[in-house]
Symmetry: C2
């Protein structure tokens, strides 16, 4: 059955209104009609619905039943990703969303080659959030993870330190994830994960992380590309916390 | 210091001969000269050498010292990958090599859309092995993982059953990796990992795996793309076995 994400505001009593591009897509591309059934997802709940009325601009559905989504992890993992070159951020967002992160925060660190300012990134952000939406649909997520505004290093570390647990992956040292993550400690916790760009982190940046309480993690002796590291780290965190 | 892989045959007493494209590359592109130092890797050993003579066709190096490579995992993980569409296999090979597999075996399963015959795959294989070589250099591996001939499903399962441990990832059931992998049991073992193509596996294929002793693994409830699953699974196996 086709499945779409909706806004909370569009749920009115026992009905859900769909408008914009999704309405057009459901009517025109999927050729759905009055009486057809649709799954609509909002905030970790799937609503099984039936179409009551349909036009290019608006579809009105009746809620038949609802069930909580079981695909969300029992941790809230936010990926702080230092800006990589070219289209690697798009790739990282797609994979991180499939693997279960709740938010992606792009960060400018000392060794980033790509250094967009907030204005030029704002334009890109819309596209990145569409990639997140598509990945969320494909992997059957219960939420659409947000790609946030770009942060500078200092602000990112402040945000990281506010998580229940936070980690930074460093190629020159640290402890393995397996020594700091287990299912019972992590349950219902929010976790921040910081991954470097192509050049990794400066030693001084790692010192700042360390002083702020962000745990330094080693991902072994093989050198990972900057787009491999986040996919690998998110997978490992999900597995070690009992979510994969 | 530049680092190249060499064949065992090219080590003669205290000297190493480099020829072919690497010789040209070292002389012309890197502009290295007599007396310059080079790291040459063969079979998990790094040889620190000094150039004695150099031409476009052949470079002769003297071995100054040697040290075992510390980037190899203490498990031998072979990835059996059902043929995906388009260039996804190239991507999977690059990432799997970075993450530490020792071999990649492409397999034709029931739901593969790409179904090259052995002849047409043989041409492609040369290119795939080059991707493995480049990824091995980039990630500082001690060996160049081989991309093997393509296998049919039945042969692949026979090979899988010959490993010390073997796993098949299935979206409709199974146990998590964390319940079957731990560092003490896995050390020095060879492990086979079977990942499906876009459509996943047929139930009948999973039954064959099960009967042959290949453990069925669930990677959680989120649906992973066929190129995400192998990267994620290899990462998790490496982490749980104490290799990341």
């Amino acid at each position: 059955m086709p499945r779409f994400f909706i806004n909370k505001n569009n749920i009115i009593d026992n009905h859900i209104i769909i408008n914009g591009g999704d309405a057009l897509h459901i009517g025109r591309s999927l050729r759905m009609k009055i009486g057809d059934e649709l799954t609509l997802c909002c905030d970790k709940i799937d609503y099984m619905t039936k179409i009551l009325s349909i036009s290019d601009n608006e579809i009105c559905c009746e809620i038949l039943s609802q069930s909580p989504i079981c695909t969300e992890a029992n941790i809230e993992l936010t990926l702080y990703q230092a800006m990589p070159k070219s289209d690697k951020l798009e790739f990282i967002i797609q994979k991180a969303v499939e693997l279960g992160v709740v938010k992606i925060v792009p960060v400018i660190t000392s060794r980033c080659i790509a250094r967009p300012d907030k204005k030029s990134f704002a334009k890109k952000r819309e596209r990145l959030n569409k990639i997140s939406l598509e990945a969320a649909k494909q992997s059957n997520r219960g939420i659409i993870p947000e790609v946030s505004d770009i942060l500078d290093f200092k602000t990112a570390v402040t945000h990281l330190s506010e998580h229940d647990f936070s980690f930074v992956c460093y190629e020159k040292g640290g402890v393995p994830f397996s020594s700091v993550i287990n299912p019972s400690d992590c349950k219902n916790k929010n976790i921040g994960l910081f991954i470097g760009s192509e050049g990794g982190f400066e030693e001084s940046e790692i010192e700042v992380c360390d002083k702020t309480g962000v745990k330094i993690i080693s991902m072994g002796k093989r050198i990972l590309r900057c787009e491999t590291a986040p996919i690998s780290a998110v997978s490992i965190i999900m597995a070690l916390s009992g979510n994969m």
